[in-house]
Subunit: 166 residues, 2 copies
Amino acid sequence: MSDATSGLTPEELGAYFALVEVANLLQYAVDGHLRAEGDLSYLQFQILATLTDAPGGRLRMTDLADGLVHSRSGLTYQAGLLDKRGLITRAPSPDDERSVMVTVTDAGRALVGRVLPGHVADVRRLLLDPMTAGDLATLNDVLGRVRRHMRATPPRSARPRVKRKN
Amino acid sequence: MSDATSGLTPEELGAYFALVEVANLLQYAVDGHLRAEGDLSYLQFQILATLTDAPGGRLRMTDLADGLVHSRSGLTYQAGLLDKRGLITRAPSPDDERSVMVTVTDAGRALVGRVLPGHVADVRRLLLDPMTAGDLATLNDVLGRVRRHMRATPPRSARPRVKRKN
DNA sequence: TATTGTTATACTCTATAACTATA
DNA sequence: TATAGTTATAGAGTATAACAATA
């Protein structure tokens, strides 16, 4: 792909491809483990883990969607699956009757606790083991900066909800 | 997600999450651009670009699949779409009649050439701009090492083709 | 028997738009 | 009128297993 992507130096190209491939391999491996251990997709694990860390284990649908998913209906779909399995509950918010509060159940917390050790082991084995402490610090710094930059540079996520035609 | 992922230090956690989020944001943005400019998914772009750089613009299906896709039928499906659009051709290999040689057509090369400037611009703007030359060198080194490690550490991709039941 | 690739099928996931209800 | 969420629907993509053809 080097010729096809001229316009980037070999070093830029290498960093770009390595980043994409490493992230893909990591997610593929980790996803496989989560499905095998807990019948969870990576997204479902992220949802449960996010709730687990939220105060009271509860978040509004909108706040939960943030960063995890690109469409509202996508989250509704996933929440429906988790709800059906008794891993979360949904109830209208007392504050704002339009909102829905999502809460992890004990079963949900238990499942996260069950798959977590293997998940962490995967991340350590695949991603962290071949790094030195210095590598880790640099990666943390650079990728943290890039992440802030990307969040601030609305790619397409900032796309507002499409208006009705009438 | 910090509590839920204890077992990793904050720095390890930060690097892991930053990596996944950066790669996801980048792919989401880039995929959107490729679809808008050339009606191509990221995977389809990767297939065309890989072929474009191959000697003679040709590769066997099996060699093309390597790294891009996780199942054979997945590549057949994508190749079918690209073939239908006249971006590639498929023909049995003269050497080994079992193999299929995939070749980019002129139209395929033209399309890659058309979407490439925008693609490169996206990568530069989102990923590379906030990096110093030193950052780039380090990232290249570390991620390159991690990639080799991951490729050598069969996660689940090494899963051989399942044997028939009889 | 092993390898290459395709196909049939079933399933998961995603996104758009229309819709309801509340603010 | 704007916001929160659901639903209907349709489409894209994926994976497994069975299959045919060649080595």
